[in-house]
Symmetry: C2
Subunit: 100 residues, 2 copies
């Protein structure tokens, strides 16, 4: 199993706007091979930003990698440059292989 997280720093005061973007977003994940589940999660609030992360679980790292090269991925990330005013910097990716 594999967990893919993309960490986002959100401008203070724009948290609800960011959550709304994700709630209204079509992830196109349901029929992707190896996809298990998706969550948007909220981390700590710092002075400069609030941390969020997308958190998706996959049967394997290969399934995740295949998705990032797929048409479904391109569709899910159409218009990704919009709403750039809610973000502080670029998202930071972290992938985790499940050991236990």
């Amino acid at each position: 199993m594999y967990i893919a997280m993309n960490r986002f720093k959100i401008v203070p005061g724009r948290e609800k706007d960011f959550e709304k973007i994700w709630k209204e977003r079509e992830t196109h994940l349901d029929n992707v091979p190896g996809f298990i589940e998706f969550h948007l999660v909220k981390g700590c609030k710092e002075e400069t930003h609030t941390l969020y992360a997308s958190h998706s679980t996959w049967k394997s790292e290969d399934d995740f990698s295949n998705w990032t090269r797929s048409e479904a991925f391109r569709q899910a990330h159409r218009g990704a440059g919009q709403h750039s005013d809610v973000y502080l910097g670029h998202p930071v990716f972290e992938g985790f292989k499940v050991i236990i």
Copy 2:
């Protein structure tokens, strides 16, 4: 739902030792109220260390907080100071509230 992650930096070459410690460890989590599941996950390998994280899922943040004050928590962390030679520095905690 709530996800609790504790990030560990492991000395290069000691990854298998670290995984063995966790595989042999008794987490005492099975009967804890609100506990859903536990994983040990492996992140990226840097020049100075390999990133790992404990990754536990809970019904709520309160359930997690209650556990950290419980006898089960104390039992699970008995001898936590052992094996300190596999770690680079202290673990770093991050908690995430599930929004979607």
